[in-house]
């Protein structure tokens, strides 16, 4: 079993501390959701894992070996992100062909099939594709590359709703056929919530949550009702945030609800996006 271990990694850009003593384990055959606000350090983390940036301190390991500058281990990883590193004049079909040279397990037939599904013009140059189609090209490459660790940084950037849905469906299908590790960094949490098995929340360069989606969602609940009743209920409880709408109030409470509830209050499951907003909002408002 190989896994990626990010050990005490920090990274600074001039005055900005992008990552601060990040420790993280990325296990095999799991779909991770890397969630964070703008500038939280998601892309920096993915770039460091994939040998594009160097950590200021700390190491990235695969098994017991350093992943940084290790071609043999890097060939087990693939990062698809917004930056196009393919040559300016390269056509989509040529990019697929060359990816196959670098990654022998690249499934060219599958890439062709996905290109037809997404109606990706393979004879066009990559740089001449629209933002959405550039994302599609990257996603198709990532899904066809067949490596144990695939990193998708904002995979649905510029994609319309139909293509986003199709992408999530294909990702799940691919995962079901032959499990692999996918780390999906996204802002569209609600859409990706159903496919994420493990949630990593990063904020201000630090990992603030790293746990299975189910346990994260079960770690709290949402209680709603008249503001006064909710206030009384949450007095002695750990609350991560509240929403007020007119006389109604919703509070996000850590722990399990105790029954019977005071009259007028109702309990609902916490949703990932709300939880994420509350978690990161709390840190920012401190």
């Amino acid at each position: 079993m190989s896994r990626i271990e990010v050990r005490d990694v920090s990274k600074e850009f001039k005055d900005t501390k992008a990552l601060s003593h990040v420790n993280l384990l990325i296990e095999e055959n799991t779909i991770y959701g890397l969630l964070g606000r703008n500038g939280a350090g998601k892309s920096t983390l993915l770039n460091i894992i994939n040998n594009r940036l160097f950590p200021g301190s700390g190491t990235v390991l695969m098994g017991d070996e350093t992943l940084t500058e290790n071609t043999a281990l890097l060939s087990k990883c693939f990062l698809a992100n917004e930056t196009n590193l393919y040559p300016e004049g390269m056509k989509v079909k040529d990019a697929f062909r060359w990816t196959r040279e670098f990654y022998p397990d690249f499934d060219a037939d599958y890439a062709g099939e996905l290109s037809r599904l997404f109606e990706l013009p393979v004879k066009k140059k990559i740089k001449s594709l629209s933002t959405g189609y550039q994302s599609i090209f990257r996603n198709i490459t990532a899904l066809s590359v067949n490596v144990p660790f695939v990193f998708l940084d904002e995979p649905v950037l510029g994609l319309d709703a139909c293509h986003r849905e199709l992408f999530y469906k294909l990702l799940i299908e691919k995962y079901a056929r032959g499990p692999f590790t996918a780390v999906v960094s996204t802002h569209l949490i609600e859409e990706a919530a159903n496919i994420i098995e493990q949630v990593i929340v990063i904020d201000k360069g630090q990992i603030i949550r790293n746990e299975p989606t189910e346990s994260l969602l079960n770690s709290g609940y949402c209680i709603s009702g008249p503001a006064g009743t909710v206030d009384a209920y949450i007095k002695a409880r750990e609350v991560i945030g509240t929403d007020i709408l007119g006389g109604l109030k919703s509070a996000y409470v850590i722990g399990e609800p105790e029954y019977p509830l005071p009259s007028g209050l109702s309990v609902s499951k916490m949703d990932l996006q709300k939880l994420f907003i509350k978690l990161t909002d709390n840190l920012h408002s401190r």
Binding site: S43, N47, N50, N51, R52, L53, F54, E69, N70, T71, L74, S75, K76, C77, F78, L79, T83, L85, Y86, P87, E88, W98, T99, E101, F102, Y103
Partner: protein
């Protein structure tokens, strides 16, 4: 390393074919004019070391693009550098070979029509090492000319790499200044400084001529000096490359 080398060689093949075709065209134009118009005395002039220029441009042009492709496909910078070294040797030798072929072609063409031909890299080396070429036979002369041309090509290729390497390492805000400033400095400021400090430059040139073996008519000393310079440039290039970040 083989994977990225294959990718680099593909670009090198296209570029070398284009280069060879341009060289061939340069031969054909005066030949056609001479044959068509018998009263025009056409000569093929001004070659020298076009392969060196090709290598410089190729080194600058492909460094970043190939590095990005390598990083995208999980190739370490170290492997990429090893591949670049192979490309440097192959490109340098290929261009020296094309120069050598043009030498024979030039002699043939020169004999074939009334015009004269000095389309020969060997003439440069004859100027630098006259004593050696007087003693050497035509085959050994051509062989030494090939080696010297190849080393000049390696040197210029390495210079191209280091030029592009500095560009990739520097902050984006300085890049325009670097692109504009470097040629101005090399071909504008440096000659002016040279003219101002002509005594010091004279001493430098004297020293350079000694270590290149021009005075002792020893081309092998020149090869040795170029090897040291190339290794020094490549060392700088690797130092720049191994911490180059892509984002």
């Amino acid at each position: 390393m083989k994977k990225i080398l294959r990718f680099q060689l593909k670009d090198l093949t296209y570029s070398c074919v284009a280069y060879a075709l341009v060289m061939l065209l340069l031969y054909c134009i005066p030949l056609v004019i001479s044959i068509t118009f018998g009263d025009i005395d056409m000569g093929i002039n001004g070659n020298g070391l076009p392969g060196a220029v090709f290598c410089l441009v190729f080194g600058i042009a492909v460094y970043k693009e190939h590095l990005l492709m390598a990083v995208q496909n999980g190739i370490s910078r170290r492997c990429y550098f090893q591949s670049v070294l192979c490309v440097l040797v192959i490109a340098g030798c290929a261009c020296a070979l094309i120069d050598l072929l043009t030498l024979f072609l030039g002699v043939r063409i020169g004999a074939g029509f009334s015009g004269n031909s000095n389309f020969r890299a060997i003439d440069i080396w004859k100027m630098c090492y006259p004593g050696f070429y007087d003693r050497a036979g035509s085959v050994s002369g051509a062989a030494v000319s090939f080696v010297l041309s190849a080393f000049v090509n390696f040197l210029l290729f390495a210079s191209g790499l280091v030029t592009a390497g500095v560009y990739c390492r520097m902050a984006k805000k300085f890049r325009t200044f670097y692109c504009v400033g470097l040629p101005i400095f090399m071909f504008g400021v440096l000659p002016v400084i040279g003219a101002y400090f002509h005594k010091e430059v004279f001493k430098l040139v004297n020293g350079f001529m000694n270590i290149m073996g021009f005075r002792s008519n020893n081309p092998f000393l020149g090869v040795l000096t170029m090897t040291v310079i190339i290794l020094a440039i490549l060392f700088i290039c690797y130092r720049l490359l191994r911490r180059t970040e892509i984002s």
